[in-house]
């Protein structure tokens, strides 16, 4: 069995187990939905959620069982080759890079209100570009500043969207 098949089975196993947990949690939440007297004998607000929890539990169990069966058929003694180890490292490197993008996005959200739109967008554009391999130079700084000013002009000036001005906006009397 190829290393890709093995990896896919691992991913399916993890995903189906996670979905099974989600179904359980959602079912608990659905069971706790209060019944309203407004609907009389009608179907309550919990009916569809409970059915969905059961459906997800069934589908994820099918996938989990199928994955486990196929996984047990694999030669357990077969050790991963150097190439497979290299591939695995490369996959984890990609996940780590994606996690970095998530972190950049979260930091932007945290600084958006206190720092204001323009400065936080400059930081977002600069950090994203540098994180993705752009070398730090005047060009990337000019790009980040230009982008933030352009978007500020578009959203605040043309579309009249009230954007956060932050502490600096307060100092300027905005």
């Amino acid at each position: 069995m190829s290393s890709e098949t093995r990896r896919q089975l691992n991913r399916d196993g993890i995903a189906s187990a996670a979905a099974l947990c989600l179904a359980g949690l959602y079912w608990v939440g659905a069971e706790n939905i209060p019944r309203s007297s407004l609907i009389g004998n009608g179907i309550g607000a919990d009916a569809i959620p409970v059915s969905l929890a059961v459906a997800l539990a069934i589908f994820s169990s099918i996938l989990l069982i199928r994955t486990l069966i196929l996984r047990f058929r694999l030669d357990a003694a077969e050790a991963p080759t150097d190439e497979e180890r290299q591939e695995r490292r490369e996959i984890w490197r990609r996940h780590a890079r994606a996690a970095g993008m998530v972190a950049i996005g979260l930091v932007f959200l945290l600084i958006l209100e206190p720092v204001g739109y323009v400065l936080s967008t400059i930081a977002l554009a600069f950090a994203t570009a540098v994180y993705n391999g752009q070398s730090v130079n005047v060009r990337v700084v000019a790009f980040a500043v230009g982008l933030a000013v352009l978007f500020y002009g578009l959203f605040a000036g043309v579309l009249h969207i009230p954007l956060p001005t932050g502490v600096f906006g307060g100092l300027l009397g905005h």
Binding site: L38, F126, P162
Partner: protein
């Protein structure tokens, strides 16, 4: 004829002209960027349509779809990298032509056949959609519930990956749709005492997160794409060349017309099928793969036809067959427009305006397609990190502008993370998005039907339309199971033979 005259009338509106030209230009640029599919280009525009009038906003999205299908062929021909999935078939002969120094000619054929395919698609869209929508006039709440179930089942069973994964993501989509205040009883569901969740999660946020943000996360781990070298000018085909490629373009449009209407099929399958059929019917099949003009004509006319015919089930029944039409449906529903017969009766200006807008998009494709080539090549040749930074900032700014609420941005990031995991684990997106969009329709009609029948579930089998659609859903599931079983057997037999 009335549809045609109303469509022609709407073509004079400046808003529609601006929306069509703007959508096509944005679509070409977006499609030309590897990794930005038509659906992502459309998702990036969604926040901007929020404050627009319904007709221009829908035309903007539909024109983006049309433009992106052509835009995808630019990097396919010039740098051997399809800008969109549907342009993957164009790479084969398009890049071969580029290596022979005939890239401009290949781009000219791509543009001409894209226009041809769009015209065929618009004609079918205008003639088939309304009669199909009129069938829905006879629908009861039970039928609407079953229609939603049929739509989700078909998409889940035909999606990439296996059927169970499609069903799982569809169920997750329906779960997301239950968040918020229940409109029947006023009870809060899964709101965790957060006032931002009382109105539910707007599907625009899920779409932008799943399509655009998740792709940025994926792109973060990838290396740069090849840069285009030198200047390329589009060379439109001569009359003689047009005569030569007409049969291939017709094959492409024929297949595109059929595949566009079929849920889950989309432009990619249509492009490859039409490439294969054009080669089969060609007098010079040996040229295919080595720079055959027909090898560019067939897939390009196919994917542009799909961009219009895919709107037929979306507008008439509210069932989108692809990611791009799911976004378009989201755009319709953002403006409170419900697809089906009532859309034609109550919001005829939007539908006929869309037809007119697509006609303007054809003109725009011709003009902008030629004009935008140089700026397009400039954008594609920019460092990828700068493009990613620009898109990231655009998504956040656009989403913030919808409600001026940072909470929306957290939801988009969350949806992006979910989309990334789904991508990594090879779970299809479309069933999830469809579940989110159709969730309310399915639940509300289910409960209405049961209110009418005094909680008797037999109503879903007594209503003939409902029975027919539920039977079809079961049939699709059985056929899909059969197909999976057959493929597994075939694979096992092959493995045994090799052993």
């Amino acid at each position: 004829m009335e549809a045609l005259s109303l469509a022609l009338e709407s073509m004079g509106s400046w808003q529609i002209i601006v929306a069509a030209f703007g959508g096509v230009a944005w679509g070409i640029v977006g499609g030309a960027l590897p990794g930005i599919s038509p659906s992502i280009a459309m998702a990036l525009l969604l926040p901007f349509t929020y404050g627009m009038a319904p007709a221009p906003s829908i035309i903007l999205l539909a024109s983006t779809y049309v433009g992106a299908e052509f835009g995808g062929s630019i990097p396919a021909i010039l740098i051997n990298t399809p800008g969109t999935n549907a342009a993957a078939a164009t790479v084969i002969d398009g890049y071969a032509l580029q290596k022979q120094g005939r890239g401009g000619e290949a781009l000219g054929i791509s543009l001409t056949c894209g226009i041809f395919g769009t015209i065929v698609g618009i004609f079918l869209l205008m003639t088939v959609t309304e009669p199909l929508a009129n069938v829905a006039l006879f629908f009861t709440p039970a039928s609407y519930f079953s229609l939603g179930i049929l739509g989700i089942s078909v998409i889940a069973t035909l999606s990439e990956g296996n059927m169970v994964k499609g069903m799982m993501t569809a169920t997750m989509g329906l779960m997301i749709a239950t968040i918020g205040t229940d409109p029947f009883s006023g009870v809060n569901r899964f709101t965790f005492d957060l006032p931002e969740l009382l109105d539910g999660i707007p599907y625009i946020l899920i779409m932008v997160g799943i399509y655009a943000i998740a792709e940025l996360y994926v792109q973060a781990g990838k290396s740069n794409w090849e840069q285009p070298s030198g200047r390329v000018k589009i060379k439109l085909p001569s009359l003689r060349t047009c005569r030569r490629i007409l049969p291939a373009a017709s094959i492409g449009s024929g297949i595109g017309a059929f595949e566009g209407v079929m849920p889950g099929a989309g432009g990619t399958i249509a492009a490859f099928m039409s490439y294969s059929e054009a080669r089969r019917w060609s007098k010079t099949p040996e040229e295919f793969g080595h720079g055959a003009l027909e090898g560019v004509a067939a897939p390009e006319s196919a994917n542009n036809t799909v961009s219009c015919t895919a709107l037929i089930p979306t507008l008439s029944l509210g069932i989108p067959g692809s990611n791009s039409t799911a976004i378009l449906l989201g755009g319709l529903m953002l403006h409170g427009l419900v697809p089906g017969p009532l859309l034609f009766q109550q919001n005829g200006d939007v539908v006929y305006g869309l037809y007119g807008g697509l006609m303007v998009a054809v003109v725009a494709l011709f003009i902008v397609g030629k004009m935008v080539m140089t700026p397009c090549l400039w954008i594609v040749s920019q460092p990828r990190p700068l493009l990613m930074a620009g898109i990231f900032a655009l998504v956040f700014s656009g989403v913030y502008s919808i409600h001026n609420d940072i909470f929306d941005l957290y939801i988009v990031i969350g949806a992006g993370v979910l989309g990334y995991f789904l991508k990594v684990a090879k779970f299809p997106f479309l069933p999830l998005v469809l579940g989110v969009i159709l969730g309310y329709m399915i639940e509300s009609n289910y409960r209405r039907a049961l209110l009418m029948s005094g909680n008797d579930h037999g109503i879903f089998l007594e209503d003939p339309f409902s029975l027919a659609m539920l039977s079809l859903a079961v049939l699709f599931i059985i056929l899909s199971l059969g197909r999976n079983w057959y493929q597994a057997r075939k694979k096992a037999a092959q493995a045994a033979l090799e052993a």
